[in-house]
């Protein structure tokens, strides 16, 4: 087997002037990027500009320089709590959820096609139904009728009901559990499609070359050949992990702000208080955090399978 070419960009072989050569390429980019600029880039730029003002939707904004950013870090203790909580959630849920959804996708792709489709539907079902949290509020209900409490009480492990969703001791843990369970989303589906695209000839060649078990096959063949999909999944995992909000379970504001995350803080200022300047500054900080995290992960993913 020839050595697989690096995933570098394919260079057109026709040699004409730069613009003429690529004209049709630019034309293909045009429709998407026109809409993209209008409906995504412009609003984001607007938000970044607004983060330097005291815009509150009603009055004409005044330029306030870095004051929003300064007061976030110097005067807003709650924001620091939010950063801490978001970091705890992201560090645990991000990598674990990512690995879990990949392993699950990989396992499913071993199954016969019909069984695979069935299990994919089952696992993705909660994401389709849109009522994913409900079952967990039943399990972790605060009184003795909740599934968790009634089991603990009847087995004699406790003698009073635990306030799962309102006791600072447990709130974080429960959000982590629920988020991990919910990790079979966008990333999971793209992993499944990515695994379907792997060249079967390569797997057969691997078997001839002495790959004896599924773990070797995973590390030496599957992971390297689907690196771009892994990258996509990683970015989904990052955006997901940094945007976690537990309000559906623990309510807003959560008891003692134990699960108050950056996104909770952002929504509070952006949609309840309507202090859009301040909320935009939070969004920009979150944005910078995600970009930094993305850089790190890209570096790490380049080393996979080598």
């Amino acid at each position: 087997m020839k050595k697989k070419k690096n995933n570098s960009a394919f260079k057109p072989t026709v040699k004409t002037s730069e613009w003429k050569k690529n004209r049709s390429l630019y034309l293909m980019l045009l429709p998407f990027f026109t809409l993209f600029t209008i409906f995504t880039v412009l609003p984001v730029l607007f938000a970044i500009v607004v983060s330097f003002t005291d815009f509150n939707v009603l009055q004409f904004p005044n330029f306030v320089g870095l004051s929003n950013y300064l007061s976030l870090f110097l005067n807003d203790d709650l924001f620091l709590t939010a950063i801490k909580n978001t970091f705890i959630l992201a560090v645990i849920v991000g990598p674990c959820g990512y690995i879990l959804s990949f392993i699950m996708a990989w396992m499913l792709c071993e199954l016969p096609d019909k069984l695979r489709v069935f299990m994919t539907v089952v696992l993705y079902g909660p994401s389709l139904s849109g009522n994913v949290y409900m079952i967990w509020t039943l399990i972790f209900a605060d009184d003795s009728t909740g599934f968790a409490n009634s089991w603990l009480l009847s087995s004699g492990l406790t003698n009073e009901a635990i306030l799962w969703l309102h006791d600072e001791q447990y709130m974080m843990l429960i959000i982590i559990i629920v988020q991990l369970w919910m990790s079979f989303g966008v990333g999971f589906l793209s992993f499944i499609s990515g695994l379907q695209g792997i060249d079967k000839a390569q797997l057969e060649a691997g078997m001839v070359d002495g790959i004896t078990n599924r773990w070797q096959e995973l590390w030496f063949i599957i992971l390297p050949s689907m690196r771009p999909v892994l990258l996509f999944g990683a970015i989904m995992a990052i955006t997901g992990a940094f945007s976690i909000t537990g309000t559906a379970l623990t309510g807003f504001p959560s008891t003692g702000y134990a699960t108050h995350s950056i996104v909770d803080h952002l929504n509070w200022y952006g949609t309840t208080k309507m202090e859009l300047g301040y909320a935009s500054a939070i969004a920009v900080i979150l944005f910078v955090l995600m970009i930094g995290c993305n850089r790190l992960i890209q570096k790490f993913l380049r080393k996979v399978g080598t």
Partner: protein, 302 residues
């Protein structure tokens, strides 16, 4: 008959067990396969729970819906909720079919447009080197990371400025330029061997033709996935702050209004949420069944 013959041919139950669950791969251990099935089953049970609950709720009479502690399956199942829903749909001011039509239009244009637009943009970004490629690629990735909560106001202003307020385009156009679809397709196309494109170029195909005839069939799993995301997004879209006229509101708006009416309509609402769930599931199953091993049939050896 066939299965038994196969078991005999492959020798021993253990081997055929592994072969059945791993599509006939020889280098798989029995223990590993057992573990794999157990692992999948555990998560499957947990994921089925909320779905079962919703299914049960739709067939529960009112007094069972509010029983505490809640039961998963109804004791006296009835189709009363669906009857109520049907009656409600018949009596609504705007005919029910109008909502279905609106949602249908949104999904039809949205899904096809999204796949075409993002594939057209993803192909150059994934496979060619030109001025601005790096910049555009980064822009797409970064756009995925900006929180939507603060862009709602500028979005509204832009929509108003363009005069798209209160038309289906206000929902459609942003959906067409969804970054998720582009980024997914771009990453899948990056994985294709360059020789595939080189071959098409030698045959004299234009870039666009290469995309349509060579690339798209090979990345079918990817755009099927994009289709699922777009469908899900538009199916659940209620029109938000952009649609005012009742005539152009989508189905999900009409059904979400039922639940908003309070306790007296909870039965109907749970029937409606089952309906809202079943259709994406059917679409999802069709799309997933199409996510087959396309690479194996593309005939490319790198």
């Amino acid at each position: 008959m066939n299965a038994i013959q196969r078991i005999k041919a492959s020798g021993g139950f253990k081997k055929s067990f592994v072969r059945f669950f791993t599509k006939g791969r020889a280098n798989r251990s029995v223990g590993g396969t057992m573990f794999l099935l157990f692992f999948i089953a555990c998560f499957g049970v947990f994921a089925l729970f909320p779905v079962l609950f919703m299914l049960g709720n739709a067939f529960k009479p009112m007094h069972e819906l509010y029983r505490y502690p809640p039961t998963i399956l109804p004791e006296n199942p009835s189709v009363q909720n669906f009857g109520d829903l049907l009656q409600y749909a018949n009596e609504s001011l705007v005919p029910f079919t109008r909502y279905v039509f609106n949602t249908g239009i949104l999904i039809l244009i949205g899904c096809i447009g999204q796949i075409i637009f993002s594939a057209m943009a993803a192909f150059p970004l994934a496979k060619f080197d030109f001025k601005g490629r790096g910049f555009l690629s980064n822009l797409v990735v970064y756009a995925l990371m900006f929180s939507g909560a603060v862009t709602a106001v500028p979005n509204y202003i832009i929509m108003n400025y363009l005069g798209l307020m209160d038309s289906l385009w206000a929902v459609l156009l942003p959906a067409l330029a969804s970054t998720l679809g582009l980024y997914l397709l771009q990453n899948f196309m990056t994985m294709l061997p360059d020789s595939l494109i080189e071959a098409a170029q030698i045959d004299g195909a234009s870039y666009f033709r290469t995309l349509v005839q060579v690339i798209m069939p090979v990345v079918k799993p990817a755009w099927m996935t994009v289709f699922i995301f777009t469908f899900q997004n538009l199916w659940g879209n209620t029109g938000g702050s952009f649609l005012y006229t009742e005539n152009i509101k989508p189905l999900s708006y009409m059904l979400s209004k039922i639940a908003a009416a309070g306790i007296s309509r909870q039965g109907m609402a749970s029937a409606a949420s089952l309906l809202m769930f079943i259709i994406p599931v059917v679409i999802f199953i069709i799309a997933q069944s199409n996510v087959m091993e396309t690479m194996a049939t593309s005939g490319m050896k790198d």
